[in-house]
Each structure stands twice: as structure tokens, then as C-alpha cells.
Symmetry: none
Subunit: 549 residues, 2 copies
């Protein structure tokens, strides 16, 4: 990727050799609508970030919430490598000596390795929001930083709204930086608090600041309100900042913070600036991203660059045949570098080459060739099913069962005799009642179960597993994690076929299955049936001969 700057002559002038990573997932990221980390979550994330090798881990705002106080309390004995814990706060309140400021003293008592405080650098914020004079603000910045420097080796100053402030009153914005610098701030962090900036102006502003304070270490703190937080951060590095602040997966208020999951591989693999992340650590990137999603109880962003499930997924048939000729023809980096992998999606646009590569992954020893009849049969079967509305790109488990069938490597574990679903609602304001009965044959034996449910699909799911769990106790551990319904054609409205996509888990693995029918309950049954069969196949449970006469 060295070509990236081949056409960018002046790019290497200001580019630093090394950039520090500053993670604020636990502070700014905790502001995200819908995210609320427990103290336990915060500890696990902090330790995981330290393991990954982030330099600075901002843990929270002492005094802002009991949760943050408890977190810092419990983090006092930590055994991290080079990672350092940072406590966040603001410049002292006006009207008293900084030594008396409760906020600052909480930082000092937090047990953190470093402090990061924000101060106003946009004149109108000082006068309108804080309601103090510009001079008073300069004094607060300078004295707050100086006081903290008596207690911390390292103090960071976040210049809030710096880019807006610089545009509105360049001279004052620079005075605020000077005040913090002269008081001993180690790094001045330029914050695009409202997220309204775009890369070229960011580059130019940072360049001007560096000219003004040539020996001062700078940082960037970007927000994603223009979908440019990553680009703005990289532009600032290109202009010479030595610290990048961001969050895992770009979580954060409004549109989020700069996404470290993209910034790290771009800096290390493309811009060739060292973030102190080793190749081994970089291969943990995808799993770090997933871990934080789990902690945040958040659906993964499947299309997320570098670490997302679809980041290296290929659908178009032309692409796939080319990929098999030469990987990097259609991949901007090797997915393994960030611990991700190439995925080949099956779809109506996909040719036999997609399916062949899937079959080869499934049965490497079979040594299948393009012209193998098994491939032809699988392709035909898939096209038939896709014509009726099946889509396998989101249903790997159903697809694998289908391939096993076409390779006659599949044995049914049970056979449906009948299901009945009853759904009743009495009166406009009454809750409905759902009941399902399921009868299946397992090895010649009839099993019959009934269950109530929160809706008919839930009732059917419960009844089906109740009917099977005695024969297959492994199903006890299995549960559904996701359930999607898609109506396929708008032609006949309520007569339209529906596609039900189900994701299941047994705690260790996750797999997804699909069912299609004009009857939403039959579609759900088919997806449930595959989900259970796949679990039994994965567990290597033998199928009773009687099912497969």
C-alpha cells in the first residue's frame, strides 16, 4: 500500500513516526444512546484494551456517577503492560481557588495514571455557555493544568470545540492552547466536538497550530457527524498530531466518535505510521470489536469496515471467480491481518464458482472440481430454492445442510408428523393467547408435545424442542438469538411468501437458518427444523435409521 502517498508529495513532511492510541470507549463511548456499561463491563473492557495494547485508556469521569467512582476504586490494583489509565474531568469551576475544586481533587484521588481535562476554546462558549470573561477562562485553564501537573506525570488538555473556535476567533483559540501548554500540559488535544469538520480544513488548521506551537505535542478528538471522523483523524495525523482519541466501533453520542477499529489498520497498514500495535495484536482487532459489542449488548454493524462480518464478503459471481484467481484483485487488504476472514455469499447474482468454493471449504478432502456433478446438482437445487424465495447469504447452516444433502451426506434426525398452532384474541383490549402442539417421529417412536408461547412462533419453537429434548438432550443448551421476517413479493399482499431467518446459539457456536412459505408459521417451522438438525449434525449425533428409509 506504499503507493498511497506516491501521488501525495508533501504528505511525508509532517507525518510522525509514531502515534499514541487514546481510547475513550468507557467515557465518551458510554454516552451512546442505548449503551449502559456495568462496572464489571467497564473493568473487562479496560483489561481487554490493555491486552490489545492501547496506550491510554480513559475510564470515566470521577464524581460524575457512582459507577465511575466504583470503577476507579476497583481498578486501583491493575497489572497492565504499557497501558495507562486516564481519569477525565473539566477545568476548575470559576469563583474559588483551583486547589479547592472538588472536580480536580476527585481526579487526583482517583488512582489513575494520568488526567485529561477539557476547557473551552470557542470564545462564544466562554461568554454564552460558561458566562465568564475570556481572561477568566484562560486563568482557569492555566491554573487547572498547573495544579494537576503537581500530582500527575501526564496531563492532557482537551480543547473543546477547537475547530469551530479557531474559525470564529483564531487568536483566542490559540491563546487557550498557549495557556495550557505554558502550564505544562503534555498533549493538547484538538476536539471537533460538534463533528462538523471535514478533512482538508482539519489538515490546514492542525498545520497552522503546529507552526504556532512547533514543539508542542498535539492530539485529535473527532466526532462522526459528517461521516468523516476517521478521515479527519487520519488527516490530523498527516498534519503531525501524535495522539488519536477514539472508541471501539466508533460508539459515542449522536453519530459517534472516531472509530479506532478503522483508524488503527489504516495508520499501520496504509499510512505506515506505527501505533505500537504488533501484527499479533492487530490480528485481535476483529475479536476486540466483537467483544465490545457483546459487552455493550449491541447488534454488530455487519458492514463495519475491516472487522465487520461482511467487510470481506463477496456476492457477485464475476468477483468470486476472479478472487479464486488472485485474492488481492478484489480485497484492499488481507482480512487475516485484522483477524477477519473472506466470506463468499450465495445469491441469485452468484455463479457456480461461489458454490464450488463453498463446497470445497465444506469438504476439502473431496477435492471437487468445477465440472463435478455434485456442483451442478447443488447449483440447480439452489437456483430452484432461490426462485421460490430462499436466500442463503444470511443462512449458512441451511446452506450447509443443503450441500450435505446434495452430496448425500445428510441423515434426518426426526420427521414432522404434524403441528397445530392456535392463536386467539378475545376483545379489543385483551392480550392474545398462543398455543402450539407438535408431533414428530424419532426412530419410529412418536413424540408429542404442547406449549403456550408469547406469540405463535414462540409457542411452536417451545413445543418442537419439548418434543425432541428427551431423544436429543443436547438441544437443552440451544436457544434462538435472532429472528427476522421478510415479505418477498408485494404482489398478493397477505398471500405473499415470507422468508424467516433464524439465528441460533448453544453458547459456543452461532448458526443461522432460513425457511420460506406463504404461511409465516410454516416458514418459521422450516427454519427451526434446520436450526435443530444443524445443531445435531455439529454435535455429531447419529440419526436413527428409521428416519431415513
Amino acid at each position: 500500500m506504499a503507493y498511497l502517498f506516491k501521488y501525495d508529495s508533501d504528505a511525508l513532511m509532517a507525518l510522525p513516526k509514531h502515534v499514541d492510541l487514546f481510547d475513550t470507549t468507557l467515557r465518551d463511548g458510554a454516552q451512546t444512546a442505548g449503551i449502559s456499561f456495568s462496572v464489571e463491563d467497564k473493568k473487562r473492557i479496560a483489561n481487554r484494551l490493555a491486552e490489545f495494547g492501547v496506550h491510554w485508556i480513559e475510564g470515566g469521569w470521577p464524581g460524575a456517577s457512582p459507577k465511575d467512582d466504583l470503577f476507579f476504586e476497583q481498578m486501583r490494583e491493575r497489572s497492565w503492560g504499557r497501558s495507562k489509565l486516564v481519569a477525565f474531568g473539566s477545568t476548575a469551576r470559576p469563583g474559588h481557588a483551583v486547589e479547592k475544586d472538588r472536580g480536580l481533587n476527585r481526579l487526583i484521588g482517583s488512582g489513575a495514571d494520568a488526567a485529561c481535562i477539557f476547557g473551552k476554546s470557542w470564545d462564544v462558549h466562554v461568554t454564552k455557555a460558561l458566562g465568564i470573561t475570556l481572561e477568566e477562562n484562560l486563568r482557569l485553564v492555566s491554573e487547572s493544568v498547573a495544579y494537576l501537573k503537581q500530582h500527575f506525570d501526564t496531563v492532557f488538555f482537551d480543547a473543546e470545540h477547537f475547530f469551530d473556535g479557531f474559525a470564529a476567533n483564531e487568536r483566542y483559540a490559540l491563546q487557550v492552547l498557549e495557556a495550557a501548554a505554558e502550564a505544562g500540559a503534555d498533549t493538547l488535544v484538538l476536539c471537533d466536538t460538534n463533528g462538523g469538520s471535514i478533512p482538508f480544513p482539519v489538515f490546514d488548521v492542525v498545520t497552522r497550530v503546529k507552526k504556532h506551537l512547533p514543539d508542542q505535542a498535539l492530539g485529535i478528538h473527532a466526532h462522526n457527524d459528517c461521516e468523516m471522523a476517521v478521515a479527519n483523524s487520519v488527516a490530523a495525523v498527516r498534519a503531525g498530531v501524535q495522539q488519536v482519541q477514539g472508541t471501539v466501533n466508533g460508539v459515542g453520542e449522536r453519530c459517534g466518535n472516531a472509530n479506532l477499529m478503522s483508524i488503527i489498520p489504516i495508520l499501520q497498514l496504509k499510512v505506515k505510521v506505527d501505533c505500537g500495535v504488533s501484527p499479533e495484536q492487530l490480528r485481535q482487532l476483529s475479536s476486540l470489536s466483537q467483544f465490545v459489542n457483546e459487552m455493550a449488548n449491541r447488534l454488530p454493524w455487519q458492514h463495519q469496515p475491516f472487522v465487520g462480518q461482511n467487510a470481506f464478503a463477496h456476492k457477485g459471481g464475476i468477483h468470486v471467480s476472479a478472487i479464486r484467481k488472485q485474492r488481492d484483485l478484489y480485497e484492499h487488504i488481507d482480512p487475516l491481518l485484522v483477524g477477519n476472514e473472506q466470506r463468499v455469499l450465495v445469491s441469485d447474482q452468484a455463479g457456480r464458482s461461489n458454490i464450488l468454493s463453498k463446497l470445497q471449504k465444506l469438504e476439502p478432502e473431496a477435492g471437487l472440481a468445477d465440472d463435478d456433478p455434485v456442483v451442478a446438482e447443488a447449483v440447480t437445487r439452489i437456483k430452484e430454492l432461490e426462485a421460490t424465495g430462499y436466500a442463503f447469504e444470511g443462512a449458512d447452516a441451511s446452506f450447509q445442510l443443503l450441500l450435505r444433502r446434495s452430496m448425500s451426506r445428510f441423515q434426518r434426525h426426526f420427521e414432522l408428523v404434524r403441528f397445530r398452532v392456535y392463536d386467539e384474541k378475545r376483545g379489543h383490549h385483551e392480550d392474545p393467547e398462543s398455543e402450539a402442539t407438535v408431533q414428530v417421529r424419532v426412530g419410529g417412536e412418536l413424540k408429542h408435545a404442547a406449549a403456550l408461547g408469547n406469540g405463535p412462533v414462540n409457542a411452536m419453537d417451545r413445543a418442537l424442542r419439548a418434543a425432541l429434548v428427551h431423544a436429543y438432550p443436547g438441544l437443552e443448551a440451544m436457544f434462538l438469538t435472532d429472528f427476522k421476517v421478510r415479505v418477498l413479493t408485494t404482489r398478493e399482499a397477505t398471500e405473499a411468501a415470507v422468508r424467516v431467518l433464524i439465528e441460533s446459539s448453544d453458547g459456543k457456536r452461532k448458526w443461522s437458518t432460513v425457511g420460506v412459505s406463504t404461511d409465516v408459521l410454516e416458514a418459521a417451522y422450516r427454519a427451526l427444523n434446520d436450526a435443530i438438525e444443524y445443531k445435531l449434525v455439529m454435535d455429531g449425533v447419529a440419526a436413527p435409521a428409521a428416519e431415513n428409509r
Copy 2:
């Protein structure tokens, strides 16, 4: 926002006055994992894009799938303003005269206003993926463009993998562009097909191409694999391209295409380049984004810049009090410019004004004021319902009924006594059977009907209308035209709440309604109930007094 270039002296040199918008949601966007548009969806999206004012609407690839062929067939009689329909394809296959190329002739026969074909511009792709000589590729590009120009006023050439190609073999990449230009291509679109590029190199490469072909119109087609598709597109405009290709909400293969929902407001409001979108059209941006999410049956990206639900959401007391003092202290643009709104999570202000305006539209003579208790009640009710998963964006009829209720201007036409739905499947290969019985009270009279159906929702729809049609013969003319199901939370899988969206028609009008429940059948019933009530209200059918004691 004029300040944006205050520190970016050379930025205005190459900046064009005007940029054309080229939407490929229906072509490249249709490659997105998990998205499969029906022909009906594609038509509705295309018409909505034309309404919004996009210049070029790429509808698909004639010949690639029966779906795309049907789409172009059905789009032959369209009545758009300035928007033009584009058909996508590739340069001719090697080995025969271009006039005989089936792909090119399909484009010519498609009835589109313009053609866009891609060709290889990365030398290794020509030799390895295509397996032909570099000269042969130049001939294919030149002859394909020339042949299409005999049949289309406008032909676009997508230079596939241009940035990688330029880095690998600058001279050849430029030769490909020359070949297309000399053959008459109207715009040469530089494609970052693998999405591996970043803004500064993109700017520099585009600048070099412009120096090489000063009189040639250029375009940019970016992918989001570095989370920089928007930044790369804006960088290219800054370097002088006059066309930007992208998709609504950035849907697209892998990590997606450049997101027009961000690019449009950035260009018009910040970079000050005219995209031909009027202020009125720009205020439709958020609703266009939501509409495409509904069509794609896709969970909205709540943190999406500009148009997302949280894009202008404010937490935290400091922010809120400051916002009250001066909005733009914490907002990079006025959300109303893009049809979004400020959400102050601690107050009830949000949404109030637009609900007032809707109420005023509904009841002009009522002369409602901001402080009218009716408004407060409507706001409260809407917030309650939205908290349970209702979304009225796609369901105007349900929304109007809700407002009528809050103004006590609504009289029920019937009351549900009970519904029962039976669904049974006997054996793995048997079709299921669905039966519904519905009992309603109309003016003190009990009506009871039963119906079989193609699936339980269809059975319920038939039974409900059978029970009502004698009392309300107007329902005879009513039928459902669309039916969508969305699962709202994945937390409890099959226990999750579902939202059913129904579109109805009576031949003259179309209206849509919504229902939410953990029981998919109850959700469907609620949407059906509203659909019928709305039809009766529109027809001015009086409600029997007995229903409204």
C-alpha cells in the same frame, strides 16, 4: 459554514460550481448482503429518487437477472422531471464484433435514457481476470463506448479499480481513460472498486487525471472499506469531478458505497457546491432515507449522520441548557435543513411542532395553538406508542387515526369481539392449512365469519372483511397491496415484538397502516383494523352510535 475553506487556500481552485448526483442504490446497492428488492420495491424507490431530484438513477443490469429485466420493462412509461434512468453493463466480451454483443444490445433495448458500462483500468485485472492483452482491452473499451454512443445521448464509463490501476501502471490506466474519452464517453467515472483509498491520495490522483484530460468530465465512485467513502467522494469533488456516484444510506457490497445521505448535505451546506437539490428537496432527505430502509426491510442506522434518529439527540444537562441559550453551540447544522429534528432527551420539545402542524393540516378550522392540550396529549400518546415499537413514518393512515382519536374526532365503526386463527401442517411434505374466525360487533349487532387462507394472516384478512362487508359494502373495493414484517428487538428472538406494515388500496387511493405486538397475528390484526377504519373514514361512512358508548 463558509469558514470551512478559510484555512484551505487552494481548495476553491478546482472546485466545480455544480455536481451531478448519480444514484446506484438499485444496482450496486442491490448487492448488499441481506437486501433483496422486489421489482415493486425497485419501482417505488426509483420514483421516490426522481421525486427527490437525483439526476441519474441506475436501475440495474439488463440481462443479469429476470428481476432487472422486468424492472426496465415496467419503467418504460415513466413521467419523471429531470431525472434520467441509467442501465448498467460491461464492455463487450472479447472474441466477436461489439455489434453482436448480447450485453450491449440488452442495454440498447432496455428503454433507459443513458448507459453506464464498466471496463478494466488495472493492468493485472486485464491480464489475470479477463485473460486478454492490454491492447485488446483498449479496443473493447473504445468500440463498446462508440457503439453505445450510436444509440444513447449519454454514455458513462466506469473505470473499474482506477486508483489501484493508476498506482500499479499509471500510463495504462490513463490510456484506458483516453480510449473511452476518444470514443465519446460523456463522463469518465474513477472507481475505487476495492474501497482501499484514502482522501489525500484520491485528491492527488484526480488532480493528475484532470491535468492529463483537462476538458473531460470526471466522476467518482467510492466504496467504504476504509470508512472513508464520503471523505473520498468530497476530496474528488474538491479536485474537480462533476459527478458523484453513491447510494441511499450507503448500502452496497461489503462495507457499502458512498453514502449520498451524507454527501449531499456536505456538498450543499458546507463545501457550497450545488447538487441541484433545492432547500425543499433537501428537507426530504431524512424521509427518503427512512423510506429506503422500509423498502429494504432494514433496521435504521440510528446513529447515521444527518438523517439518523440520534444525529441531533442531546443528553447531558450542560448541553441542554447551552442549546437553549444558542442552538449552534452544540449542532454543526440546523437539523431542519435535512428534515431531521433536534432531540433533547430530557424534554418534551422534540417533535411537538411538527405534530402541531400535522394536526393543523388535519383540522384547519380548529385553529390549534402550540399550547393546546390536544397537542400535548397527541405528543404523549405518540411517545408511548413509539416506545412500544410503533413507527409512523411508513404509516400515515394509522397516524391520522391516532390524531383524530386525540382530538376525539374518531368514531369506531366496529369492535372486535374475538378472532381465532388455526394453522395446521400434517407431515413434512404436506401444505399447511390456515383458518380464521372473526367475530365483531357492528352497531350492537354481532357479525361472525370464517375463512380459509393462504397463510394465517391472509385467512384473518379474509374473515375480518367477510364479517364487515354486509354492514360496509364499500369494503368490497378494498384490497391489500403490500405487507411488511419487521422484528423489533433481537433480545428474546422468537419472543421479540414485531411491527406489521400494511398498504391498502381501493383503486383510487393508497394508504398504509401499522400494528405492533409480540404476536405477529395480533400485530397484523391491528394494522388491518386501522386499514379498514381509515377506508370508512375517508368514505365518510357514519359510525353506528352503539360502538361508541
